[in-house]
């Protein structure tokens, strides 16, 4: 259904939730309540939980939850199909973040189907391409080292707050053209938006963010610079500037997109590094020559989020009837653990044959931040392992995971010999 991003209206989709709202076409024997993202079994060890789905669940099943019911896809092949066929699986109404229905906006480009989404991607793709993000390499390295300067002599840190949170936020501020002084404010907003698990808090925080970005957009139009927000604010598509709602939806989405995902990935990886000294040394030895293999495999092993779609027309997959209007989620980490594609899926093996991983999803909405994320992770590994090659979890630590759509440990306290 074509939508007008300049004049957005909230989509009207049925959103069944709970065991009493299972559509009649769903076979009883495919209905489960897995507790993905918030149940106790999941929170005890989310990545193991997701790998285990291949042993305990059919390849496609219908998950019932308090907030939403939806089909789960766990097979690599099925996710590739769904994410690459927008004619069957649409992006409309894709984002769960609550917006004011009287002052609505679409998240751009993720809520826009082809062919229209391409005009938005063309504005930013050059900036986020491998060549584009390479320009940030020096800055990223400098920031990583400044953060390490603050902790190296102390012999301990809480990794998530000392490194994983500030690094991507600072780089994001640099990339979009916002002052570094905003770090603490943005960190608060990111936490409130992504980890409050409270619709009201999320809605309020989103309003604060869009209020702030509204003034930023006006400023960038008056005073253009080379940052991504200015490029979007001043972009011309088919000879016309973007509508205000398009610019706002684009900038707000970028704000959300880059902050929590890299944060969670770094936290997952550093937890693993803390517990595997021999692999730390292996990475230290190989990170310059084999950085892309190492980063790609770590992204496969510790991908952090999901990719949802709305069924746009009836389709049958593996004998399962999906009906128009059903929601599906591709459990990307589970797809990355598909034993038919990645044998010994939980093993970190940097020399696996190169295949498509789903950390950044696939299809036309494949994450534009993927190259930046890879670069940040590569540099973080290079600089941290160079300066703090040996470290471990603080004795007595109990690792906990918070509920939510981006998966990683809540706190990673580390100790080392300073």
């Amino acid at each position: 259904m074509p939508i007008d991003a300049a004049n957005p209206v909230p989509p009207k989709f049925a959103r069944p939730a709970g065991p009493d709202q299972v559509p009649p076409h769903v076979p009883r024997d495919l209905v489960f309540s897995t507790g993905l993202t918030n149940g106790p079994e999941f929170l005890a060890g989310p990545h193991d939980f997701m790998a285990n789905l291949h042993k305990t669940k059919p390849p496609i099943y219908y998950d019932v939850g308090d907030f939403a019911n939806m089909w789960h896809f766990i097979k690599h092949e099925d996710a590739l199909f769904a994410l690459r066929h927008p004619e069957y699986f649409s992006n409309e109404g894709n984002s769960p973040f609550p917006r004011d229905p009287d002052d609505y906006f679409y998240f751009i480009p993720p809520e826009i189907d082809p062919p229209h989404h391409r005009k938005y991607r063309n504005i930013v793709d050059p900036l986020f391409s491998p060549a584009g993000v390479k320009k940030l390499e020096g800055k990223i390295r400098q920031l990583a080292n400044e953060l390490i300067d603050g902790i190296a002599d102390k012999g301990e840190c809480e990794f998530t707050t000392a490194f994983a949170r500030p690094l991507p936020v600072l780089i994001f501020l640099e990339l979009v053209g916002l002052p570094k002084e905003n770090l603490d404010l943005f960190v608060t907003w990111a936490d409130d938006l992504m980890h409050s698990e409270n619709q009201e808090v999320m809605g309020r925080t989103l309003k604060k963010i869009t209020g702030y970005l509204t003034s930023v957009i006006a400023d960038k139009k008056a005073n253009p610079d080379e940052g991504v927000f200015s490029v979007i604010a001043n972009a011309q598509v088919e000879g016309k500037p973007l509508a205000f709602k398009e610019i706002l939806g684009f900038c707000t989405f970028l704000f959300i997109g880059g902050l929590d995902t890299v944060y969670a990935t770094l936290n997952n990886v550093w937890l693993w590094l803390a517990e595997h000294p021999e692999r730390r040394h292996e990475i230290g030895d190989r990170i310059n020559a084999d950085s892309d293999k190492i980063v790609e495999e770590l992204l496969r092993r510790y991908s952090v989020t999901f990719s949802g779609r709305e069924v746009a027309q009836d389709i049958e997959i593996r004998g399962v009837q999906l009906r128009k209007g059903d929601r599906i989620t591709c459990i990307l980490p589970a797809c990355n653990y598909d034993p038919e594609v990645f044998p010994n899926p939980l093993e970190v093996d940097f020399d696996r044959p190169r295949k498509t991983i789903l950390a950044f999803t696939v299809g036309v909405h494949s994450c534009m931040g993927g190259h930046l994320a890879r670069l940040e992770i590569k540099i973080a590994l290079q600089e941290w392992l160079r300066r703090i090659p040996d470290f471990e979890l603080k004795p007595g630590t109990r690792i906990e995971y918070r509920p939510g759509g981006v998966i990683g440990p809540d706190r990673v306290p580390l100790v080392w010999r300073a």
Partner: protein, 108 residues
């Protein structure tokens, strides 16, 4: 600016100015050429920018530039030939002015 000629499987042809140093995948994407998807944006991660280098150009273009490109090509959905390359790994130079690439019927 060098020209790259994209020949779609359905017979459509496009002659596109592609800046020096840009890759064949982006030359298509930025100019609305159908038949190349490039979903991972050039990260050697998706194999959806598969092209067949025309026989007259294979020697100048050469084969896959890395082990990763070779391995990923194995995942390409269309038949892989000796002339197969991933478009994101083919950089346009003066030497490749006039390059002809044939696009598969589909990238997945």
């Amino acid at each position: 600016m060098p020209i790259v000629n994209y020949m779609e499987a359905n017979g459509n042809r496009h002659s596109i100015d592609v800046p020096m140093g840009e890759n064949v995948m982006r030359g298509a994407l930025y100019n609305g050429v159908e038949g190349i998807v490039g979903e991972c944006g050039g990260g050697l991660s998706c194999a959806t920018c598969h092209v067949y280098v025309d026989d007259a150009w294979t020697e100048r273009v050469g084969g896959p530039s890395s082990e990763a490109e070779e391995q990923l090509l194995e995942n390409a959905s269309s038949h892989v030939l000796p002339s197969s390359r991933l478009g994101c790994q083919v950089l346009v130079t003066g030497e490749l002015d006039g390059l002809v690439v044939h696009l598969p019927e589909s990238q997945f």
